[in-house]
Amino acid sequence: MTPMLTSARKTELIGFVIVAAVILLLLPAVTDAFRLNLVGKYLTYAFVAVGLVLCWGSAGILSLGQGIFFGLGGYCMAMFLKLEASTPEATSIQSTPGIPDFMDWNQITALPWFWEPFHSFGFTLVAVVVVPAILAFIIGFAMFTRRVGGVYFAIITQAIAAILTILIIGQQGYTGGVNGITDLRTLLGWDIRTDSAKTILYFVNAFLLLAVIALSMAVRSSKLGRILVALRDKEDRVRFSGYDVAAFKIFVFCFAAAISGIGGAMFTLQVGFMSPSFVGIVPSIEMVIFCAVGGRHSLIGAVYGTLLVNWAKTSFSESFPELWLFAMGALFIAVVMAFPNGLAGLYTSHVQPLFKRFGRKSAGRSAASGTETPAIAE
């Protein structure tokens, strides 16, 4: 272990502890149940942003279709919950009781085959992670083995997001169409709509997010993480050092997709429905901006970026709805032009030096400072 690495590592660990404290202690302490549920919803987007830090920040692969994976994870969970809600008793007024209401409206008389496995909770949990990963594998395999990268990859993922949206909306008998899968009530008999349930789900979500961040940190600090940075910088050199570059890209893309799927599933649980409006191009690009605002290289920054943008969105649209798009647009431009490394970059360039100066005078107190700005970890 080198001295420099240790210090970066240390900053990252401190950042992790602080973000854990913010999510687990600070936010629940200062917000009411209603706002906490909102924060919980925002944090589900942070899963996507963390995935983007790995994909885009580390490996330089910008996907404009992460909403696809978020949506797939969310749909998997929604299918399970919908089946649980559609017992023959609860749906006795339908012409075919026991199937989801929207299927009945679309004259479907039997549950489609791909819905059947979602009766099982175990299968659903696996599917939440595996279904997005499989699609990511297919896309990644096709693209990366043929060396599609950069801009082209971004545009193609965007097109795939568009295709999936049209498909989901068009096949409403199987998917609930533009309304999505709504009116989800219970999880294994447990009412997920109550305030206490939402609080519990918030903490489940928070722990999952922290686990995902910890896992991502482990990935980044492994040799694989360094290879990703290396191939962002000099792809050919990595290739001619004997690595199958495509395999590494596929892996990180699938990994990001899988954790986005977890975010989607937690979203469904906390919000109570899933609809195609989270699959399309606009949400996918918004998720990129969460990541960019936090700092595209910082896992911890992704969380703050997501929280900050969504908090701004909510409070802006409460007080000045007309101004919201201006503010959002300006944010995009500012983050690109003025601080490309986002909040994390601001922290390393402005806050950390202060600590260092301060730290020299009174060593060891810097970590205790209550700043909310994240630590950068390269």
Binding site: K41, Q107, V178, G180, T182, V271, G272, S317, P321
Partner: protein, 423 residues
């Protein structure tokens, strides 16, 4: 403007005339020693569930998209709801309490709708919410309203298949809107073949399903084609060619949003002259609002079936239109949904007054049977299933962007959100 249940109708009519008809009188009424206060029951009686009701105010919510793609459509509803609230306040409010409103932006994003609905109900404790436009936004907020027991007045004509105790549907459900129009076009115009077309989502699909059942099973006529295009699609030349090939008597179009504009412009350019006898273009998705984007000259001659057109000739409507324009500008146009949104606050007021309470459960109980004799569309009544009995009209589009009403059902159409034989 005033609503009431049957017995009190004549008196309230008179009072409304005094109010709206004469500004001087309204002023004097406002300055009079608070006539409302004398008759206003104590808050503890009218509000037993902790709603945002004080001795002289009651708070309601308005929940529509101000930003995003749906803002185009929802603006009219917001304007109508604000107008109704202002008029009610000028008359002394509800149970002697002025209505205050909290407006939230759904931002064309369904979870935002759910989120804001929850805020309105949980944090702001509003007594009623007027809002939503798309089915998706309604579906998103529905569990919230059911869980926290709120009351939503939903203005849009929609596909039906829903009947919530927490929603009053002030627009028509699909059968009300569709059946009368099809009967009319079959009887009056001798139409025999139909080509169904729509944007690809639940409302057009469900509506066309009902239309097809009615055409084939009830009228014994023929559907020669049915197609859907993604939302936002802008190229309709291929489908227009298909239509030309099949030569239907009626092109039944339920295209929405930006696609609408493209569809009618291209239809006209392809030489389908809607002012001719055949083919007839019939739509349930183009209100006067949409015509502004399409351009009156591009849709001239098409028929629309809905319950309300701005050109309706009755006293209620004339007052409504002039009040709306006075408040929001002379160049405003008013479509079906805008009028339905306007009904929301009035229906709520009538229900509250009938119940003598703002409590949601009591308002809900009082709602069925509420009549509105002063609605711009004429007379409406709340059905047991929380939809409105209303008449359906056929409008003929003119080049100036208005519809000329060419037919009106003699009876009120019964709302039937789960129509037997149409599923």
């Amino acid at each position: 403007m005033k609503t009431n249940d049957k017995g009190a109708a004549p008196r309230s009519m008179l009072r409304r005339k005094l109010m709206i008809g004469s500004a001087a009188l309204a002023l004097s009424l406002a300055m009079a020693p608070r006539p409302g206060l004398a008759q206003s029951p104590p808050t503890s009686e009218v509000n037993t569930t902790g709603l945002a009701v004080t001795d002289d105010t009651v708070t309601v919510g308005i929940l529509h998209s101000i930003t995003g793609t749906m803002a185009i459509s929802e603006t009219g509803s917001v304007q109508a709801e604000k107008l109704a609230i202002e008029q009610i306040n000028e008359m002394g409010g509800v149970l002697g309490r002025k209505i205050e409103y909290i407006q939230e932006d759904g931002a064309s994003d369904w979870p935002t709708f759910a989120e804001k609905a929850k805020k309105l109900l949980v944090q702001d404790k509003v007594a009623a919410v007027f809002g939503c436009w798309t089915s998706a936004s309604r579906k998103a907020v529905l569990p919230v309203f059911e869980q926290y027991n709120g009351m939503l007045y939903y203005p849009t004509f929609y596909e039906g298949l829903e009947e919530s105790p927490n929603v009053i549907y002030t627009g028509q459900e699909a059968t009300q809107q569709i059946i009368a129009g099809l009967n009319w076009v079959a009887e009056e115009k001798g139409a025999e073949t139909f080509y169904l077309l729509g944007s690809d989502y639940i409302w057009p699909r469900t509506s066309n399903k009902i239309a097809r059942k009615h055409i084939e099973d009830k009228l014994g006529l023929k559907v020669v084609g049915e197609e859907y295009y993604p939302l936002g699609h802008t190229q309709f030349n291929s489908v227009i060619n298909k239509i030309k090939l099949r030569k239907p008597d009626v092109i039944y179009a339920i295209v929405v949003g930006g696609s609408n504009v493209a569809f009618y412009k291209q239809l006209k350019a392809a030489g389908i002259d809607m002012t001719q006898e055949k083919p007839i273009v019939m739509t349930i998705s183009v209100t006067e609002d949409e015509i502004r984007g399409i351009g009156g000259e591009n849709i001239e001659g098409a028929y629309a079936t809905m319950k309300y057109f701005q050109s309706l000739e009755n006293e209620n409507n004339q007052e409504f239109v002039s009040a709306f324009k006075a408040m929001w500008g002379e160049d405003m146009v008013i479509g079906d949904v805008t009028q339905a949104a306007y009904l929301g606050p009035w229906l709520w007021k009538a229900a509250v007054e009938k119940a003598g309470s703002f409590d949601i459960d009591k308002v809900r109980e009082a709602s069925p049977g509420i009549e509105l004799t002063t609605a711009p569309e004429g007379y409406v009544r709340i059905h047991e299933n929380h939809h409105l009995w209303s008449k359906t009209r056929v409008g003929h589009a003119k080049a100036d962007g208005q519809y000329e009403v060419v037919y009106e059902t003699t009876d009120l159409m019964e709302p039937d959100p789960f129509p037997e034989g149409y599923q």
